[in-house]
């Protein structure tokens, strides 16, 4: 009970937890005999809403092999790390944890996840894992987590609006801007019309423009210190192009992030959107009750009127590098069932699990499965986009840059005109540098 109150008591929670955890678990936790044991798994809601069958199948196989039970607790993305940190500081921790791939490094470097190097060869496709997923799982040649699935962002556009304007999907970035301009003037009578809906705090998008222009977020110097590099000319050029697009062609709240861009696009007042491959489905059908994942799906105003292509980049024939988002699963360092936990992960990330995921519009965790992914209808664009991708700086404290809203703040400042691109980039660099070098 005391622990529960503590969790609610914000700052005090962390402290109480820190005080409560003295010992380290180092018992014989590697056993695979799971009779009478229950494995606690924290997965993110995507599995619950997107592919519950994959979870059930893995659980069934795991139970048949080991005799252990599995409890899955689904977590919301919003602030899930705050909850996880407070939990990991205590003793009663989940055995398996899912993390966003950009969040993994923090737990790998800080002793949150267990070393599973010895079991690496036992995981399916471990030789071909996508680097964007596996790199953050590694430190000093050791493995701390396993890639789960990936996603890549693509250009989602309204086929009916494009053909009404006599346009083809853009092949170059200049085409894209020209198309946006034409669509904007054709729909001038609709005050809500966005030729390209681009929320101001959508940093995964803006950073794609940065990487597409040859810039990057941060760089590690020869002295081992990180430095924010958004003020480099290449990065600023990318930011400028992104801001021009957002300011010119996007209506809507510039302080919003991408979290409700699908329902906004589904209203039918936008012609283009930059989103994950699976968002192509999300804009066409939505839950009748947005707060109830069990409510029936209903068609939106744009049903059957959308398609996806890779977003064209700045040099000919190349698509804009997409952020390779995704998830990883790891074993908690404090777990008392580390062997069982690794076994469950093996079942959950097996080739057959991956193939079931592909059918749901997610991208697989390994390159040898990407071609199979591209063969799934609706997945072609994102599978192509995944081949040209960028990833966040692999620094232990990267997650703090994300959670600290550093990039979002800079982007909103630019789009709302509060700061010039240069001022915003410099302010962000200063904070990125300090966050990435913090211990």
């Amino acid at each position: 009970m005391r622990r529960r109150i503590a969790v609610a008591a914000a700052l005090a929670a962390t402290l109480l937890g820190a005080a409560a955890c003295g010992g380290k678990s180092a018992s014989s936790s590697d056993s695979l005999d799971g009779k009478g044991k229950t494995l606690k798994v924290w997965l993110m809601v995507d599995a619950q809403t997107g592919w519950p069958g994959v979870v059930d199948a893995a659980n069934a196989k795991f139970k048949a092999d080991t005799g252990a039970n599995v409890t899955i607790e689904y977590q919301q993305w919003t602030n899930h790390l705050t909850k996880l940190d407070a939990t990991l500081a205590g003793k009663d921790v989940p055995d398996v944890i899912e993390l966003g791939n950009t969040e993994a490094a923090k737990y790998v470097f800080n002793g949150g996840l267990a070393d599973i190097t010895a079991k690496k060869s036992g995981f399916d496709n471990s030789a071909n894992w996508l680097t964007g997923l596996s790199a953050p799982c590694e430190s000093d040649g050791k493995l701390y987590c396993v890639p789960y699935y990936a996603g890549a962002r693509v250009l989602i556009y309204r086929t009916d609006m494009f053909s009404a304007a006599g346009l083809q999907p853009p092949k170059t970035y200049e085409d894209l801007v020209a198309d946006a301009q034409k669509l904007k003037s054709q729909h001038a009578s609709d005050p809500k019309f966005s030729a390209f809906y681009m929320p101001g705090a959508y940093w995964y998008a803006a950073m794609s423009w940065v990487y597409g222009s040859g810039g990057q977020i941060a760089q590690k110097g020869s002295d081992g210190k990180w430095k924010g590099t958004l003020e480099d000319p290449a990065a600023e050029a990318g930011l400028q192009k992104w801001a021009d697009l957002a300011k010119q062609y996007s209506k809507g709240d510039p302080t919003k992030n991408e979290s409700d861009q699908d329902p906004v696009f589904a209203q039918g007042d936008s012609a283009m959107l930059y989103g994950n491959g699976w968002e192509l489905g999300a804009v066409q059908s939505q839950h009748k009750d947005a707060n109830d994942p069990n409510s029936p799906m209903v068609d939106t105003a744009v049903k059957g009127k959308v398609a996806a292509v890779p977003l064209p980049g700045f040099s000919d024939g190349k698509s804009l590098p997409s952020f390779l988002g995704g998830s990883i699963v790891g074993v908690a360092q404090k777990s008392k069932n580390q062997g069982l936990a690794a076994e469950w992960i093996k079942d959950f990330t097996s080739t057959s699990s991956q193939q079931a995921l592909l059918a749901k519009g997610a991208l697989p965790n390994a390159t040898n499965l990407l071609d199979a992914a591209a063969a799934v209808a609706g997945n072609e664009a994102s599978a192509t986009a995944a081949k040209s991708s960028w990833f966040t700086p692999n620094a232990p404290t990267w997650a703090d840059v994300e959670k600290g809203n550093i990039l979002q703040q800079a982007l909103v400042d630019i789009v709302t005109g509060k700061k010039s691109v240069d001022d915003a980039a410099k302010a962000a660099d200063e904070q990125i540098t300090s966050a990435l070098n913090a211990s």
Binding site: A10, K24, D85, P191, K251
Partner: protein
């Protein structure tokens, strides 16, 4: 409720004195220990829920706690006043301090002013209107902050909000997709309205209870002497109400210095720097940036700032006690 005490002096005194004198008569010895024994359970609960975390937080503010320490249970290093000097020499901290105080002052003035106005109005309306007002305020009061904040967030949403839709209906006004959060003055206006809206019921009902203790004959006498409504309020009603107004004002000041839920939730749990007050700042440092120790230092500094207000509040309480 404290609010009814000023004019129930007689019965209150009797109530307090009777058991004490009875005790004094029978067991003079036990008299000193009994109150402490009776207060013990409360003290234990307070110590467990308040003192322990506060002591730990004070310790934390002098340490450098990293995530590694947190996950592995290693003990953090002591760095003395490092966190404090870093925070106090940061100009952003002072911006936030000023902003916190200004926002709190505006919220307090509005909520106490409007609360008093509502209380005065309740005296003039017919009983059933008064019941309706009370029920409406009880509903506002009982609504969880989280829920009301979410509702306000939807009202002012740029894409779906009813406020923009309604403003748009006014001829010549274009509020399509207007964002209320780009300009911090507009954004804070929304937050202040939300806070004041939530604060009025408590203040209005407390003050109404206080007003009902203003003797009618005093007011009548003043009117007979030719006093207008304003003069009656200023010279008769308000002096009787003053201690109570003092209490609700100080309480409001303490609450409004620590506004958190409204800001955090309405900004989608990612508040921009323009929307930082001290509470948000401490939370973001500690939990968003994992800078636990500087976050603790900011919290302690906030507590010190609040203690000043608390001293004022406690003095008010004692003054009322003296008057009785």
């Amino acid at each position: 409720m404290v609010s009814v005490e000023p004019s129930t002096r007689e019965p209150l005194d009797r109530r307090v004195n009777m058991p004490v004198s009875a005790l004094a008569g029978r067991r003079r010895r036990g008299r000193q220990a009994t109150p402490y024994v009776l207060a013990l359970p409360t003290l234990i609960v307070i110590a467990a829920l308040l003192a322990y975390p506060i002591v730990k937080m004070i310790m934390l503010s002098f340490q450098h706690l990293t995530q590694r320490d947190l996950f592995t249970g290693e003990s953090p290093s002591w760095i003395g006043l490092g966190n404090y000097t870093a925070v106090l020499s940061d100009s952003f901290f002072w911006t936030v301090v000023v902003r916190t105080v200004v926002v709190a002052a505006v919220c307090v003035l509005l909520s106490v002013g409007l609360g008093l106005a509502v209380a005065l109005l309740m005296r003039r309306v017919t009983p059933w209107v008064r019941i309706l007002m009370t029920v409406a305020m009880m509903l506002v009061w009982s609504m969880p902050q989280l829920v009301s904040t979410q509702v306000f967030g939807w009202l002012v949403d740029a894409d779906w909000g009813v406020l923009n839709w309604a403003l748009d209906k006014i001829p010549g006004v274009d509020y399509t997709n207007h964002s209320w959060w780009v300009n911090p003055v507009q954004g804070w206006t929304v937050i202040v309205i939300l806070v004041v809206w939530g604060a009025i019921p408590f203040i209005a009902i407390s003050l109404y209870a206080g007003l009902s203790q203003v003797p009618r004959e005093l007011v009548e006498a003043a009117v007979m002497d030719g006093a207008g409504p304003w003069a009656v309020f200023r010279s008769v009603t308000f002096p009787i109400l003053r201690p109570l107004v003092g209490i609700v004002t100080t309480l409001s000041a303490i609450w409004d210095m620590g506004i958190f839920t409204q800001i955090y939730v309405i900004r989608g749990s990612k508040p921009e720097l323009d929307y930082y007050n001290l509470a948000i700042y401490a939370y973001q440092e500690a939990f968003a940036k994992s800078q636990y120790s500087p976050g603790a230092a900011i919290s302690i500094l906030t507590v010190i700032l609040m203690l000043g207000l608390m001293a004022f509040y406690v003095r008010q309480m004692f003054r009322i006690g003296d008057a009785d």
